[in-house]
């Protein structure tokens, strides 16, 4: 773990450094307040030992500045000072320090106090980890672990904004499993779920790294494809379709053929594409693919009426 030592006295600084190293810390040294403040911009520095009296910015001022910053994780601060009157200790802690030690420092005590700091940082890390997990849980579909509808819609809006800024096309593919209801009815929902999972895993392998796959609802899956025009999206749509139709889906004892239909739309041929319009267009193309007998890809390649349809079955 990295730790900052802000101390203008060379001897004290060197003794602290030596001790901290022997306890397994990586010490970062600063000789005045300004250097300390610069060093603290490294977000990996979570523990700081600050001398109160330093030329320029003193320890108290740094404490206050650290507590005012927003985007950083918690920094645990131990303030060192030769001042050991009650009112000094109170002033030091009030400035935002977590702990206060009078000089000369007893090193066994410092070590114990650093353990307290480490505990606080570990606690925060655990908390942030759980928070991230919860966030992830709330943004994903529980069965397929794909992005859920609201999350993928958010991604689509952001990517569309970016695409328009960068004058690049953005693609959307809507796809679903043909006769999914029949699969559920004849083999049961458990097998239906397993089939859906296999389809999802094949699709995830066939899209590009920059693409995002979400579960739009039921067996309807949406793929958002940044930097993807009509030609490209047709190829990708076809690649997805073929990857499913190529071989049967194994679900324990049962192996059966599964196919998907896909509808594709891109902002390339639209002057005013919105997320809603793209989803609608892809959905409409998917419907046409269904009407054409399924296991095929339809690209909505005109913003008005004419839609070229490709049948691959």
């Amino acid at each position: 773990m990295k730790i900052l030592i802000a101390e203008d006295d060379l001897i004290t600084s060197r003794i602290l450094e030596k001790h901290l190293q022997s306890w397994g810390f990586e010490a970062v040294l600063a000789r005045n307040g300004e250097q300390a403040w610069q060093a603290l911009k490294d977000s990996r520095l979570r523990l700081a030992i600050l001398d109160w009296m330093m030329p320029g910015m003193d320890g108290i001022e740094i404490c206050k500045k650290i507590r005012r910053r927003k985007k950083y994780k918690y920094t645990y601060i131990i303030l060192l000072s030769a001042k050991d009157r009650k009112q000094d200790i109170i002033a030091g802690l009030s400035s935002g320090a977590d702990d206060y030690m009078a000089k000369p420092v007893n090193f066994l005590e410092l070590r114990a106090r650093l353990q307290t700091g480490k505990r606080i940082i570990d606690l925060e890390d655990k908390l942030l980890y759980v928070q991230n997990q919860l966030k992830d849980l709330a943004s994903r579909d529980s069965l397929t672990k794909l992005w859920n509808r609201s999350e993928i819609a958010k991604f689509l809006r952001e990517e569309l904004d970016r695409a328009q800024r960068e004058k690049k096309p953005l693609g959307v593919i809507m796809l679903d499993i043909d006769y999914f209801k029949k699969i559920n009815d004849s083999f049961g929902h458990k097998i239906g779920d397993l089939a859906l999972l296999q389809v999802v895993s094949r699709i995830k392998r066939k899209v590009r790294k920059s693409d995002k796959v979400g579960r739009y609802g039921g067996d309807e899956i949406i793929v958002v494809l940044p930097n993807c025009g009509l030609l490209e999206i047709r190829k990708i749509g076809e690649r997805l379709r073929a990857s499913i139709a190529r071989r049967g889906v194994k679900t324990g004892q049962e192996t059966f053929r599964v196919t998907i239909s896909a509808g594709c739309a891109s902002s390339e041929n639209r002057s005013q594409a919105s997320a809603e319009k793209l989803i609608k267009a892809a959905d409409a193309a998917l419907l046409r693919a269904k009407n054409q007998g399924r296991n095929c890809v339809v690209v909505d390649d005109d913003a008005t009426e004419n839609t070229r349809e490709v049948k691959n079955a």
Binding site: L10, T12, K18
Partner: protein, 125 residues
């Protein structure tokens, strides 16, 4: 001469105490003393200039800083005279500053002599 700058101990450095503080590492102590001697040399010159200019706030600051380093290495006399300098700066007492400066120079020379005769990390053989 005021009482608190009158040395009353025999040795300029308390080896037992300082070694205890840094875990008995004599090689490390030698390194620290080398840093100290360089620092003290620089600060002594700065204090001389500050005293000549009667820059009391600088005298106070340098005295304070030297007091800390000296305390860290259990340099009892030097700690005491540094404290006198800090006080002299705080009280804007030029007479005390001059006395303390003279005492500081003397103690610093004493320390260097003592370290030559009693090095912290004696060579084997």
């Amino acid at each position: 001469m005021p009482d608190h700058i009158n040395p009353c101990q025999t040795f300029p450095i308390d080896y037992t105490e300082v070694l205890e503080r840094i875990g008995g590492d004599r090689v490390f102590l030698e390194e620290l003393l080398k840093i100290y001697v360089e620092e003290c040399d620089q600060k002594l010159r700065a204090i001389k200039e500050a005293t000549a200019r009667q820059d009391f706030s600088l005298i106070q600051q340098l005295g304070h800083s030297l007091k800390g380093s000296s305390a860290n290495l259990s340099l009892t006399f030097l700690q005491k005279v540094s404290f006198s300098l800090e006080v002299a700066g705080k009280e804007k007492n030029i007479a005390l500053a001059r006395t303390a400066l003279a005492a500081l120079e003397k103690e610093f020379d004493n320390l260097k002599d003592y370290l030559r005769q009693n090095p912290p990390c004696p060579a084997i053989l």
